[in-house]
């Protein structure tokens, strides 16, 4: 085309970024890569390689090694070896290494960006302006945490060797989110990039080595999902971090269950993009572009469900279609493109399948009449209107450039629709009314909420999901805990091997209710006057009889019958969970009450417990046979603990994050919701209080199973609750067999978290079964903790488990 012709039609032309440097790097490796272990290239024993393609041209870029068990072992061993010294390296020294990595990323910025686009298919504008700058930013930010670790995180230690498995949609950025916090805090890593995209991780490995990082701190292995499984299953891995599909996340939860490994999962989403009538609609349209056509829509937090107020829906959709006509799809290395290629043929087919499904479900398709390159895996930006929540395309994650649109009538309906999903990764809210926007931001169940903006990321703000979008955060102070363990706590090594098939035994939690004890089966209690006093369940603020009308005996260590409690069953749990939800829905719901109110109630509980401390101490002596002095000490500590969490009731609500946003990024520490708690047998009162108090202080409601051996402190305690203004349903107590009741709790899909303090088998079963709805779990692997020790029995670990962090991004500008 001549200048003269262009002068007349004013077309766009190609603006190609040169692949020369990236090709030269590939050539320097003969387009064949081994594994990067101990800062060296390792050739796998089996010499198996598989090709890596450029999805825009379908040309082979290189081939990389297929790691087998031997290589995974080698990499983990290297990381273990390095951990010995790296974890002992002072934080101020680790900070220098991270700073060097950050600088080195900046020095090789363009090479990283070009290779990323060639390997993944994303437009060079995005890899150059978003992915790689954020990669550097994460190392800068975490260099700071390395520097400050001894001062700011003195109660913690690194976890150990971390196995990290990352997805193909943001190969470098996801690597940064995983590697930077891990090594900053003294861990060493073995990272496995996604099967489709592994070249930039290998380039990154060289960049890290060039920056002088000691061998073994960062190891990169490539391979199929088999290699990922080997890594996750490796016994010498202390923590597994995964970003990817909810399906694989579920598998990993099951495979690592009961092992004592920490696990963080960042999974899928179907995030709402909510537009109110008083939004700047033209800007909201650009928001949609950034929400669903960023990275070809292959973004876990993509705003893929457009919810638009009914009265502006027609206008908005017309504007959107006009905007779609302007999008340019093509060569990822062309700087004048909005969208590049879909990562792989199978993904392209999945997307196309979903679009066909949407049409079959009655949806109306809109795709702009814009050119696509003749070859390569390109997909048009796609809008499906006329679908309802009942349609699969509205519920399922498509992971492509496909937007579904729905309408709503009121803010309440917008919130309801937004939350009508199993996911909870992100949300975007558009309104120029700050009251409305922030109200909706508060109500949406999602880990990131962007007000009048979308898809903003920064190392200083945590990213992660609610519900089946996973657990754990990456970024911010809240993200550090994924790579830390309390200083007092050794790595749990449960004395339990799961059954051969890896699944919980079918009879786990099976329980046959008790029958009356015959004389001779218990010691008659000669010292107490026998008054028939049978504690009940405590559900929804009512003392209720067990649904099954079965009763279990409570014996002292000497075999004396000291009481009887209800033998709870699944229906008691069901009722308790309903009551716990009702306590959130009543007005004001428990989580909606301000911290001052919850603090007063906790102080009041402490006050009423203190008034009866001798009685509670006597009960502990009878149940456990401990010395009166230690029982008294337990009660005193329980009262202190209530004070601790009364104190925290209004002091753990969140923080302002120092992100790059002009405006405010607020981390809100929200309650998890309904928490099921199974108490241990040790310290029957103190452990019960130590678990209940942080949960309710932070706005959760609980279904709590007291120690099955020593339940009477808990059943006595409901009288204290009754006199302390605790609203109905906030604390629900179900007595009975721990594992029997826990099984119903952990399988219940409307329970948000389960804390289990029982045995190693139960811990395995709880972690395994939690995969059904990806609820958060906290288990003890059958290892006791000293509840009298303040370091072990209270504090940030408990608050961390009782909260989930939502980051709300609020830009400002007059």
């Amino acid at each position: 085309m001549s200048v003269r012709q262009i002068f007349k039609d004013m077309a766009y032309g190609p603006a190609p970024e040169s692949p020369a440097a990236a090709n030269a790097w590939l050539e320097a490796h003969q387009r064949r890569f081994g594994l990067f272990i101990n800062n060296q290239w390792i050739t796998p024993k089996q010499e198996a390689y598989y090709p890596s393609y450029n999805p825009a041209t379908l040309e082979q870029l290189a081939e990389t090694a297929q790691a087998g068990q031997a290589e995974v072992d080698l990499a983990v061993a290297a990381a273990r070896q390095a951990f010995q010294s790296w974890s002992q390296t002072p934080g101020v020294e680790r900070a220098r290494y991270l700073y060097a990595i950050a600088r080195n990323i900046q020095k090789h910025h363009r090479l990283l960006a070009v290779l990323e686009s060639m390997d993944n298919g994303k437009p060079i504008r995005e890899s150059r302006d978003i992915d790689v700058p954020l990669l550097a930013r994460h190392f800068y930010y975490h260099a700071g945490w390395a520097q400050l670790m001894e001062r700011e995180l003195s109660d913690y230690q690194p976890v150990g060797v971390v196995g990290q498995i990352i997805p193909w949609n943001f190969p470098l950025l996801m690597l940064a989110w995983k590697v930077a916090p891990a090594i900053a805090l003294g861990n060493t890593v073995v990272i496995k990039p996604a099967s489709y995209t592994r070249l930039t991780a290998l380039l990154f490995a060289e960049i890290v080595a060039e920056a002088g990082l000691p061998p073994g701190v960062v190891n990169v292995i490539t391979g199929s999902s088999r290699a990922g499984e080997m890594l996750a299953a490796h016994p010498d891995v202390d923590k597994v971090a995964f970003t990817g599909s909810t399906e694989v996340g579920r598998l990993l939860r099951q495979r690592t269950a009961g092992s004592g490994k920490k696990l963080s999962l960042e999974l899928g989403g179907k995030s709402p993009f909510i537009v109110f009538e008083d939004a700047d609609l033209d800007s909201a349209i650009e928001g949609v572009v950034d929400a669903i056509w960023f990275n070809q829509g292959q973004v876990c937090c993509a705003g893929s469900r457009l919810l638009v107020q009914e009265n502006i829906a027609d206008t908005f959709l017309e504007k959107l279609k006009a905007r779609m006509n302007k999008l340019r799809v093509g060569d990822p290395l062309d700087k004048c493109m909005d969208m590049g290629a879909i990562v792989d043929k199978s993904q392209w087919e999945t997307i196309h399948h979903w679009v066909q499904t949407g049409l079959a479900e009655g949806g109306t398709l809109y795709q702009p009449d814009i050119p696509l390159p003749e070859q390569g895996l390109f997909y048009k930006p796609t809008l499906i209107t006329g679908t309802e929540p009942a349609a699969q395309v509205v519920q399922e994650e498509i992971f492509g450039p496909v937007l579904v649109a729905l309408t709503f009538r009121s803010p309440a309906e917008a919130i309801e629709l937004a939350n009508n999903t199993r996911y909870g990764l992100a949300a975007s809210v558009w309104s120029d009314n700050i009251n409305l926007a922030l109200e909706v931001a508060g109500q949406v169940k999602a880990g990131s909420v962007w007000v009048n903006c979308t898809n903003l990321f920064d190392a200083a703000a945590g990213f992660g999901g609610y519900r089946e979008s996973g657990f754990g955060r990456e970024g911010g102070r809240e993200g550090l805990f994924e790579y830390l363990r309390p200083a007092w706590q050794p790595r749990p090594r449960p004395k339990y091997s799961p059954p051969k098939d890896g699944k919980p035994p079918a009879d786990w939690g099976a329980h046959i209710p008790a029958r009356p004890l015959m004389p001779g089966e218990f010691q008659p209690n000669g010292r107490l006057v026998r008054i028939d006093r049978t504690p009940k369940m405590y559900i929804g603020g009512q003392q209720v009889r067990p649904d099954g009308h079965y009763t279990r005996a409570v014996l002292s260590p000497h075999g004396e019958l000291i009481g009887q409690v209800g033998d709870g069953n699944r229906k008691d749990i069901r009722d308790a969970v309903e009551a716990a939800h009702a306590a959130h829905l009543s007005k004001p719901g428990w989580a909606m009450r301000h911290g001052y109110h919850r603090a007063q109630i906790l102080y009041f509980i402490a006050e009423n417990l203190a008034a009866r401390q001798e009685e509670f101490a006597r009960r502990i002596v009878h149940m456990t046979g401990c010395k009166p002095s230690s029982a008294a000490a337990e009660v005193r500590m329980a009262i202190e603990r209530l004070f601790t969490y009364a104190a925290y009731a209004d002091k753990y609500g969140g923080t302002v994050q120092e992100t790059t946003l002009r405006g405010v990024t607020v981390a809100v520490y929200e309650p998890v919701g309904v928490i099921g708690i199974a108490c241990p047998d040790e310290y029957p009162l103190l452990a019960f209080i130590s678990l209940m108090a942080p949960a309710i202080a932070r706005g959760n409601t609980v279904v709590i199973i007291p120690s099955p051996a020593h339940p009477l402190s808990a059943t006595d305690f409901y009288q204290v609750l009754d006199t302390s203004d605790v609203p109905p349903g906030v604390v629900n107590i179900v007595t009975g067999d721990r594992d029997h009741l826990t099984r119903t709790l952990v399988e219940h899909e409307d329970v948000d978290a389960v804390w289990y303090f029982g045995d190693a088998e139960g811990s395995f079963c709880v972690e395994y079964a939690s995969a059904a709805n990806m609820k958060r779990t906290w288990v003890n692997y059958g290892l006791p903790r000293d509840w009298m020790d303040r370091r072990q029995g209270e504090g940030e670990e408990f608050l961390h488990e009782a909260t989930q962090v939502k980051n709300i991004w609020i830009p400002t500008g007059a």
Partner: protein, 320 residues
């Protein structure tokens, strides 16, 4: 709906429309921050686009020391903005390649008209108490009449900012309506919003709407005398207002950023903004002007680099 080429006659003031506007500054800023990076114009395309930009220039001198001699020199440059050898190299020797207009103060219109005789290049005159608009209305209107009398084919009027800042849309509408009536059926009117003096982007959008409702042919960002001149943010908001006005009424209205545009790179960003938000018609001088004085030299140097692959010396480009 009006035909695509019909001149905007204006419409009655629709206050509900004006008051219902929402503009979110941070979102506007984000769009502007990424738009130039989304649309990279290189090589032949860049040359063609810069050549096109020359034809959209309102080559301007608005200084206290303007003299007839200064205006004559500028007009000579307006007639021949690009060296003959460069035109030849670009294959543009046959095309009419002049700037769109020469823009001067009312007192210099006569000089410019003389100097541009036979060139077909219109003289644009600022008016209505330029740059502050703080003179009595009768005087402001008289200025328009005098400039037209002296031969101006285009009038760049400034608005009375107080009307925007106090939300007196009716008064703003009435004044611009009178300016338009004074311009009559043949003289194009560009309305300068002086956005650097306005408080918010919302006011920029609202003032844009009122100016178009009152019959402006173009809306223009700045006088060049405010402390902040043409920014992409303001441009985006004005472009969106134009788009909405065109959609609702069918009358196309032109856009003119002015002040602070010195480089080819900035120019390309403005052009990309026009093409993305409004379409190709807004890249042509009928609907797009750039008000600038020093920009042309940079355009020439970039074109020289395109032709020869070497960076050009400023003093090799004839002065305007």
């Amino acid at each position: 709906m009006a035909s695509k080429n019909q001149r905007n006659p204006g419409i009655p003031l629709e206050l509900g429309w004006v008051l219902g506007v929402h503009v979110n500054r941070s979102a506007v800023e984000r769009r502007c921050a990424t738009l130039p990076a989304r649309r990279s114009i290189k090589k032949d395309w860049q040359a063609a686009w810069l050549l096109r930009a020359i034809t959209c220039l309102d080559l301007t001198t608005l200084a206290g020391d303007d003299t007839p001699g200064r205006v004559h020199r500028l007009c000579a440059k307006a007639r021949q903005p690009l060296r003959a050898d460069m035109r030849l190299a670009l294959g543009a020797e046959d095309d009419r390649l002049t700037v769109a207009a020469v823009c001067v103060y009312p007192s210099r219109v006569k000089d410019a008209v003389e100097a541009l005789q036979g060139s077909g290049i219109p003289v644009a005159s600022v008016a209505t108490g330029f740059p502050a608009g703080q003179t009595p209305l009768a005087q402001r209107i008289a200025e328009i009449e005098q400039a037209i009398e002296a031969g101006a084919g285009e009038i760049d009027v400034v608005i009375h900012r107080a009307h925007v800042l106090t939300g007196n849309w009716q008064a703003l509408y009435d004044e611009i309506r009178q300016f338009r009536a004074t311009c009559g059926s043949t003289v194009q009117m560009k309305t300068i919003l002086a956005t650097g003096d306005l408080a918010t982007l919302k006011q920029v959008y609202q003032a844009s709407l009122v100016a178009m409702m009152a019959g402006s042919d173009f809306i223009k960002t700045s006088t060049g005398k405010e402390s902040v001149n043409a920014t992409l943010e303001v441009g985006l908001v004005m472009a969106r207002a134009i788009r909405e006005y065109v959609q609702r009424t069918g009358y196309p209205v032109g856009f003119k950023p002015a002040g602070g545009i010195h480089t080819a790179k900035q120019t390309l960003a403005w052009q990309a903004l026009m093409k993305e938000e409004l379409g190709e018609a807004w890249l042509m001088p009928e609907l797009f002007r750039i008000g600038a004085s020093s920009l042309l030299t940079d355009l020439e140097r970039q074109l020289y680099h395109y032709i020869h692959g070497r960076y050009a010396a400023r003093h090799h480009m004839p002065l305007g």
